[in-house]
Amino acid sequence: MTTRFEDVAVGDEIPGLSKVVTREDVKRYADASGDQNPLHQDDGFARSVGFPGIIAHGMFTMAHLTSCVTAWLGDPGSLKRMRVQFRSVVLVGDTMVAGGRVKALDPSTRRAVLDVWVAVERGGGTEFPIKRSEAEVQLA
């Protein structure tokens, strides 16, 4: 079942999706994607360039955000466009929470544009590894 245009209003929030990031996740993503940047593999290297340890791939975080949006849509093929800005890192042990809110609806195409983000709680505050980002989706 794909989410129907008539069931959506501007301002609606889509259900959030949480995931704890493990070291194994980052290793598996490096192998599956082919991105072998040492920032994602080598703690010593990551520290030498100013991070507390290895960081997750931005694309791993974007994939999680995409899962959140397509779970709400009901059909991964309904995702037409997504543009994200990576604004903060995701560290091993972080809990990523992906979310989104309907920003605009176009009745002529039955498409919606969503504000989308990924948040992590760290050091008593909330950081946004992905923010000021958007997705365009085709509703049924």
């Binding site: 290297f45 791939h57 991964p76």
Partner: protein, 131 residues
């Protein structure tokens, strides 16, 4: 980085969308492999991007790269069995302070030559001058 390379288009890289690659990717992101995950498009993109990363004329230190922005436009979902060609172009290179930005556009076309996915990838090179 060498700004003379702005506009350089690299030879298309063939990329078959195989069950093995899709399964490995879906497992890595915790998705179902009943479909090709939308961001699987990054895998052929990276296969093509390797030409830029390794281009001796560009002078890019990939170990200093972080991902700044990413955009995908899907004309249709990727499908198992797609025989893609991934063709990347350097859209822009700019510098400010100790940071440099490299923007790469990649087109993924199917065997019929139809554009399936277009990607725009913004890479940020940290402190590229000091090292």
């Amino acid at each position: 980085m060498n700004q003379d390379l702005i506009g350089k288009r690299y030879p298309p890289v063939p990329f078959p969308v195989t069950a093995e690659r899709v399964r490995a990717f879906a497992e890595a992101i915790g998705d179902s492999d009943e479909h090709v995950p939308p961001t699987f498009a990054t895998v052929p993109e990276i296969a093509s991007l390797d030409q830029i990363i390794g281009d001796p004329d560009l002078n890019l230190d990939y170990s200093r790269v972080v991902h700044g922005e990413q955009e995908f436009e899907w004309n249709r979902p990727l499908a198992l069995g797609d025989e893609l060609m991934a063709e990347c172009t350097i859209a822009s290179i700019r510098a400010r302070g100790s940071l440099e930005w490299l923007v790469v556009e990649t087109e993924l076309r199917d065997a019929a030559g139809e554009l399936v996915v277009r990607t725009i990838d913004t890479l940020i090179v940290r402190g590229g001058d000091s090292g």
